[in-house]
């Protein structure tokens, strides 16, 4: 899951990115509203975390502009003000959730995951295909009840594939959802992760098929 973080305080942004990455998100950090408007719909973000106190454009205006442009990505606003008005205005202008600073990073992650689940229409935090289940809250994968040891990227790839079972996901799309701008990704990095996944899901897990020229697909049986 890739998340766009728009926060002007460099230290907070750095900390939040590290914290979210530890929780399995791929994070892109931006420090102003202008850049956020430029990039928000350029990449397949699962959610956007938007600070309202931006140096150039008011966060609420960024929010309004994104929604007006038809960006439907779940947006969680961060505010340093505790005025009810701010929250109400934010939600009314198209935000999906808000958090007031200071916040618990774990709560932010949970809320982001919930937002993403809701936007995908899957209320169950656990994705299941046959004997394979992926608990998106604890970020653990089990096959026939046994925990499968997967690395962060492998989890991200599997989560994306399991999010759309039986559908072909183009390679570029998959890469865009799993890696952020800063990840130095070689063209065959994705193949490496998929290869490892196939190995680790043997023998009873669902197969991950390569559709030549198109992308990858996880089989439903």
């Amino acid at each position: 899951m890739r998340v766009l973080l728009v926060e002007d305080d460099e230290r907070l942004s750095r900390g939040m990115a590290a914290s979210l990455e530890a929780a399995g998100f791929a994070v892109d950090c931006l420090a102003n509203g202008e850049d956020a408007l430029q990039l928000a719909d350029r990449e397949p973000y699962s959610a956007i975390v938007l600070d309202l106190g931006l140096p150039d454009i008011d966060g609420l205006d960024v929010l309004g502009a994104l929604r007006a442009r038809g960006v439907a990505t779940p947006i969680l606003i961060l505010t340093a003000r505790d005025m009810i008005d701010d929250r109400v205005t934010g939600l009314d202008r198209g935000a999906d959730d808000y958090m007031a600073k200071p916040f618990s990073p774990r709560e932010l992650e949970s809320r982001l995951r919930a937002l993403v689940r809701r936007s995908q229409g899957t209320a169950d935090p656990v994705l299941r295909i046959g004997a394979l289940s992926f608990d998106r809250s604890s970020r653990t994968v089990s096959l026939e009840g046994r925990i499968v040891d997967l690395r962060r990227r492998e989890l991200a790839v599997l989560e994306t594939l399991m999010g759309r079972p039986g559908k072909v996901i183009p390679k570029e799309r998959l890469a865009a959802e799993v890696f952020n701008f800063e990840d130095a990704v070689t063209p065959n990095a994705l193949e490496v992760y998929v290869g490892r996944l196939r190995r680790k899901l043997q023998p009873s897990g669902p197969a991950i098929r390569t559709v030549r020229g198109l992308g990858y697909m996880i089989e439903t049986d």
């Binding site: 230290r11 907070l12 900390g15 914290s19 140096p55 618990s104």
Partner: protein, 497 residues
């Protein structure tokens, strides 16, 4: 004893009723005294008139006397105010009436030739102004009278009585006869008491009616106040913090100034509470970001461990966040202290000494790549009015600001001159400066100039400096730096005379 709370109605009623009661009493007493004099006068006239009538009856010829005296006594006893007690003495022998009504001790039964031993009673206000001879209209009637009718106070049957007496020689008789008529004084007193009672009852009724009317009038008169109370009460219950009293055309002119003053006060309180709300909101806003940094970075530290790249960043970011919080707290306290409404004792002090001291101290603390210079015009002390510690805080504050905003390798200069308008201190830096259009706004608490490359700050430094300056009566101004870039802050102190 528990005192009742003072009531306006009670006060007003008392203020009117007390003098009114005194007035009623005063007129009651006057009326009673007048009535009493009148009454005494009337009784006296009746007694004198009666004694003369009886005396004349005895002066008639013996043949007529037999008929006239009983007739006179009969008539006197049937008056509206009956004359009951009489006695007639011939020499020292009672010939008619009550023996208990004896003549006085100075009465001489045979006559010693003395005429009018006692002055005859006269009544001053005889409105017909008839010429009377010793009380008689006809001088012939007075001829045989040796003592014309007079009044004395005596006793009859042991009770005080008013006694009228006339002594004459009766027709055809050479012996003197003394005619006396008496009336008990207590009759008169009873009459007077009844009159006094009447007067008091009328007065009391007037008081009660007045009091009642007044009470009602005050209640009616104070109704606009009750309306105002109702408005305030309604406002208190309503959620809206804004309270204004309405003055319509029914509002009395006496209450309008109160309404205006009340509304003015409410407006001021609202402004104050709004600015306080703004202040606390801003202060909490300022604290939230560093707190969020600390929390998030602690989480990072927990997840990645202190040896990791992320952990190392967290280990520098957390102290920084704490520094920011600490600075904010310090400045909030400084601001609260600088706005302390308490009066300070302004005294002459050597500004040169303070400025040089603070500059030296800051120069020692500042990093080596900042050049801090101090320059002073002329020799000797520069005396200013103010408070040395506040002045040191003010200069230190401005100097810190200048150092923070100056560029690495840049220059901060402090210049002290003794200008015509008072001692002047200028603090000059070569930092980004403050654009003309922002120079008013930077005095607002928490105001920060937006833009990249601004060093972190709380937006409280300049407001604190201004508050400190104002407490000493000093003026503070912002201008372009003297080199054409950066900022020059000028503080003009009051001259010490």
């Amino acid at each position: 004893m528990r005192r009742l709370p003072p009531s306006l109605r009670f006060r007003l009623t008392a203020a009117v009723l007390l003098p009114l009661t005194a007035l009623v009493l005063f007129f009651g007493i006057i009326t009673t005294l007048v009535a009493r004099n009148n009454e005494a006068d009337t009784v006296d006239r009746v007694l004198i008139g009666s004694v003369r009538t009886l005396s004349l009856a005895y002066n008639s010829p013996a043949s007529d006397r037999e008929r006239l005296v009983p007739l006179a006594v009969h008539l006197l006893k049937r008056r509206a105010r009956p004359v009951v007690h009489y006695s007639v003495w011939r020499g020292d022998r009672l010939i008619a009436g009550d023996a208990a009504l004896r003549p006085p001790a100075d009465y001489s039964p045979v006559g010693d030739g003395t005429i009018d031993r006692h002055p005859p009673t006269t009544f001053t206000n005889a409105y017909r102004r008839n010429e009377l001879v010793r009380g008689y209209l006809d001088p012939a009637d007075a001829r045989e009278v040796t003592q014309a009718a007079y009044l004395r106070d005596g006793t009859l049957h042991g009770k005080p009585a008013r006694i009228a007496m006339e002594i004459r020689r009766a027709h055809g008789d050479d012996r003197l006869i003394a005619i006396q008529i008496a009336d008990y004084v207590d009759d008169r007193l009873a009459h007077e008491r009844a009159f006094l009672h009447q007067v008091l009852m009328i007065g009391l009724t007037a008081l009660v009616v007045t009091g009642l009317l007044f009470w009602l009038a005050i209640r009616w008169g104070l109704r606009p106040l009750a309306t105002l109370t109702g408005q305030v009460e309604a406002a208190r219950r309503a959620a809206s913090p804004s309270v204004r009293l309405d003055a319509d055309e029914a509002t009395p002119t006496e209450i309008r100034p109160f309404v205006a003053a009340f509304n003015g006060l409410m407006a001021r309180l609202e402004r104050a509470s709004e600015s306080l709300r703004q202040f606390t909101s801003n202060a909490s806003h300022q604290m939230r970001t560093p707190l969020a940094v600390a929390r998030v970075q602690l989480d990072v530290l927990e997840r990645y461990g202190p040896q990791s790249r992320q952990g190392q960043a967290a280990l520098t970011d957390i102290p920084h966040a704490l520094d920011t919080l600490e600075q904010l707290l310090r400045q909030l306290i400084a601001l609260a202290r600088s706005e302390d409404q308490g009066t300070i004792s302004v005294q002459p002090f050597d500004l040169a000494d303070i400025a040089a001291g603070v500059t030296g101290e800051r120069a020692a603390q500042a990093s080596a790549d900042r050049v801090i210079s101090y320059e002073k015009e002329g020799e000797g002390p520069v005396m200013a009015m103010g408070q040395p510690t506040l002045a040191a805080e003010l200069i230190g504050n401005l100097l810190d600001n200048a150092i923070r905003y100056s560029r690495p390798g840049g220059m901060v200069s402090v210049r002290l001159t003794n200008g015509a308008d008072g001692p002047l201190i200028e603090i000059d830096d070569d930092g980004p400066g403050i654009p003309e259009q922002e120079r008013e706004k930077v005095w607002d608490r928490f105001y920060r100039i937006r833009g990249r490359g601004q060093p972190p700050g709380t937006g409280l430094g300049l407001p604190i400096a201004r508050a400190l300056a104002q407490r000493m009566g000093a003026e503070i101004e912002l201008a372009d730096g003297r080199t054409g870039r950066g900022l020059c802050v000028t503080v003009r102190f009051l001259r010490a005379d």
